[in-house]
Amino acid sequence: MRYLPLSTADRSAMLATIGAASVDDLFSDVPAEAVLDGPIAGLPNHASEMAVERALVKMAGKNKTASTNPFFVGCGAYKHHVPASVDMVIQRGEFLTAYTPYQPEIAQGTLQVLFEFQTQVARLTGMEVANASMYDGSTAMTEAVFMARRITRKPKCIVSAGVHPHYTSVLNTLTRFTGDVVEAGVPSFTKGAPGDDLAHLIASIDADTSSVVVQNPNLFGHIADLTPLADACHKAGALLIVVVTEIVSLGAIKSPGEMGADIVVGEGQSLGAGLLFGGPYLGLFACREKHVRQAPGRLCGETVDASGKRGFVLTLSTREQHIRREKATSNICTNSGLIALAFSAHLTLLGEKGLRHLAALNHARAVQLADRLGRVPGVTLLNGPFFNEFTLDLGREARPVVRKLAEKGVLGGVSMGRLWPGEKSLTSGMIVAVTETATDEDFDAYEDALDEVMAK
């Protein structure tokens, strides 16, 4: 057993020191009815590295990977190229195998990274401060709604129909029990501005409204100016929460902060993480400095050591569960530290210049493909403005089209039928994401396949 260093002789010597006759003596508190005599049945015994690797390689081989097929799936998770050095950084044992930095004098590596990460996230989102990460975008959004309730002491949250339905689901799961009131609608399938309900949101704000949640770019890829909405929120004493699921977009489009957001939450997976079948991802959480004591999650702050040197520590922990227990701002403990490192390292490698280039490239490539696919007979491009994701109206149920494309080796996008099952008005929609990783050959393959499928 390669991971266990104790030898039989060690064990005997240690039992002697302890004064126990056998290891069973150490488990004497276990009630008789729960004692297991030997290894649990129905499970295999230990295996060599070779054998484990062989079995897992076989399982992995049953999946179609994004890099080996023309790939255009998005909706909250994006395939971007992650530089090889990012993986090298997160595999440094000192980062990978460290715990939460509870002893800051020997955790300055992690802490400085978190301080840099918080600064990067704040700047990217156009906010003043950011926390040290949440689980993912969807849980970050839920936390933001609760934070707004604590700040405004009002019960109601209005959620735009353009928000990713999984995110809204997660919110609903909790509010069903917490008593927060959530209003959320079904998205419009409007040509030029699918899912855009800004006017409706503004109209819905009332004195009970603690927050309005809106996603930009929205589920359909549509982008909008949120300034009027922010103004309306602030006039009513509500907070504007902006969700960003494609963080690369902020290299090209105005940040939520610039448009007046009070809290910005996002999914940071696009930078550093990779697709990973959904996790671990990275919840981003940024807000105004004045609200920070109501924020969930860990915060890293600057301080000095006994000799006056700058250093970093986890701070404002009186908000957190380990100090405040049932009065904490959130129950979160373990977060997404290592993915935050990956995000930060990727963004450091890009820099402002690289991020802007990356975003511009994503946008231009998406425009190119949108126009090509929009010309396929039977297909209509729904979007006016968009970033790197757009929605096609196929004029027929989209879900089988997605499956047929997959059979042809093209992972073409996400059908509205999967995300909004039962919503008849949306079933013909297919959401297509384009990143820097798609080649011209991929475009050709997609167009050809869609052509064929639509022709049938």
């Binding site: 649990i40 015994n45 440094r92 990978l96 020997i106 959904g278 996790g279 569960q321």
Partner: protein, 520 residues
């Protein structure tokens, strides 16, 4: 170019007599290297990424382009690699030595698991791909779920929770949903004083009212107090087993039975499962829900704070309320039950907890770990973890105050208090900082709250006897010296990258992001 002064503006000097250079020009000390902030060294026009040119097409951003400076400095790749490598060297980590944080189960992270998690078949697939294209991923989740159910003796498991606290949330939401399904309005959750902060925080997070139950003199839940409080308003108890004092709760089965008798549910915090895996199945103790920190018992690396993964095993009573999505076997393969088919297969589900399907990357690592150990190896894990902890307890209890040592062996962690330092003016914190200079990460300090100046030492099974002996030797040395010459120990650490950091200052005047004006 400032060649006359070092980083902190002081001239380099030799320490009289010792011949040691106290300050260098750079602030570095040979291999202990200072590293400025990205924002002090990077620049807006530098990049470590090359990209193909942008095709010249008119933008479709409707005037919403980002036209102000964002403020994101970049590095070329050499600078970036060095920045992070230098920073990493300011960290302690399990790869460097024993990391005996109680309650955290910092065990070795096998590198095979890292390799497996990076197989493109697992790492390079999208959560919304057509299900026919991700059958291997569903198989992996399903196999892992099977291991978890068998190891715990429970009939169901929810895989999507993202960490321990999220698992607690999952369990408590299932309990809420189960109560709601019965229109049962009870809302009180009983939590032992010694519980981890996430327990009460989670209960409150989903609308329960928390009441504390005290510990008895043996460090266990006070059974009589618990019985006294149980009643029809009690929705659930949350018990940690082994508990946060590192002790097995011998009455758990009796408590479960009593809770069930009054119509409540038993949530078990399974963070300490490492102590009993393969030796005790929580299902045999009447538990209704328990989260498992894959990042503890099953060794997925902690990454300086996360990510984790917190699957929750559920009793038959709670299983119908489990969250979506989950994997279901069908005649032709595996199916992911999501919103579209939830009506048919998960009518009572309390809903979705996260955008996608949980921590796939952690699942791969955990399964690789389980297959490597097997049923026999996992049992050995628990035994060695408990043996190592008891060895530490036995080797230190004459010197360190061990509040519950008289009540018998501990489980996977040994608990001490700083009572033995009374009169020195020194406390747990000073001792912890002394251990840092000795090259160890300290134990968990000041938790659990039920013990004064708590020191919770969890070695885990992946430490050799030689390592334990070295830790014990250093702990005895530091304690002995603290008693003999207390003044020498008030200001540690002295040899780490930073001297003791001012946490009060940090909280009083929070500086949470770099401001450009800060630059020298």
């Amino acid at each position: 170019m400032s060649t006359a002064m070092n980083n902190v503006g002081r001239p380099t000097r030799l320490v009289a007599g010792t011949g040691a250079v106290a300050e260098t020009f750079t602030g570095n000390k040979a291999l202990m290297l200072e590293e400025p902030l990205l924002f002090e060294r990077g620049s807006l026009d530098r990049s470590g990424v090359d990209l193909p040119p942008v095709p010249p097409v008119p933008d479709r951003l409707a005037g919403l382009g980002r036209d102000v400076v964002i403020g994101l400095p970049g590095f070329s790749e050499p600078e970036a690699v060095r920045h992070y490598t230098r920073l990493s060297r300011q960290n302690y980590a399990i790869d460097l030595g024993i990391f005996p944080l109680g309650s955290c189960t910092m065990k070795h992270n096998p590198r095979l698991n890292e390799k497996m998690a990076r197989l493109p078949g697992f790492a390079d697939i999208h959560p919304l791909q057509p299900q026919s294209t991700i059958q291997g991923a569903l198989e992996l989740i399903n196999v892992l779920a099977d291991w978890l159910m068998k190891l715990t003796g429970m009939p169901a498991v929810a895989m999507s929770p993202k960490a321990g606290a999220h698992g607690e949330l999952c369990g408590m939401l299932a309990i809420r949903a189960a109560l709601d399904a019965k229109n049962d309005p009870r809302r009180v959750v009983l939590v032992p004083e010694s519980a981890h902060g996430t327990n009460p925080a989670t209960a409150a997070f989903c609308g329960f009212t928390v009441e504390n139950i005290p510990a008895n003199a043996r460090g266990r839940v006070d059974f009589d107090a618990m019985m006294a409080r149980l009643g029809p308003d009690v929705a659930a108890v949350m018990i940690t087993n082994p508990n946060t004092c590192g002790l097995f709760e011998p009455d758990l089965k009796r408590i479960s039975d009593a809770v069930h008798a009054v119509g409540g549910y038993v949530y078990c915090d399974g963070a300490n499962f490492n102590a009993i895996v393969g030796r005790v199945r929580p299902g045999d103790l009447g538990v209704d829900a328990m989260h498992i920190n894959l990042h503890k018992t099953f060794s997925t690396p902690h990454g300086g704070g996360g990510p984790g993964s917190g699957p929750v095993v559920l009793s038959a009573a709670l299983a119908p309320f489990a969250p979506i999505p989950f994997v279901r076997k069908t005649a032709t393969g595996l199916e992911l039950v999501e919103e579209d088919t939830a009506g048919t297969h998960a009518a009572d589900s309390f809903g979705r907890m996260v955008a996608f399907h949980g921590q796939m990357g952690m699942f791969v690592r955990a399964l690789s770990y389980m297959m490597s150990h097997g049923a026999d190896g996992l049992r050995q894990v628990a035994e060695d973890a408990v043996l190592n902890a008891n060895y530490i307890l036995a080797s230190l209890k004459d010197l360190y105050t061990a509040p519950f040592a008289s009540s018998g062996p501990c489980m996977h962690e040994a608990l001490f208090s700083d009572d033995f330092l009374d009169g020195t003016g020194l406390s747990t914190l000073d001792l912890a900082k002394g251990l840092i200079d000795e090259g160890f990460h300290p134990m968990t300090v000041y938790f659990p709250l039920v013990v004064h100046g708590a020191m919770l030492v969890e070695p885990t099974e992946t430490e050799s006897k030689a390592n334990l002996d070295q830790l014990i030797g250093a702990m005895r040395h530091v304690a002995t010296q603290m008693l003999a010459d207390p003044d020498a120990w008030r200001t540690g650490p002295h040899l780490a990258p930073r001297r003791r950091l001012d946490e009060t200052l940090a909280a009083r005047k929070p500086v949470l992001a770099y401001k450009d004006s800060e630059a020298a």
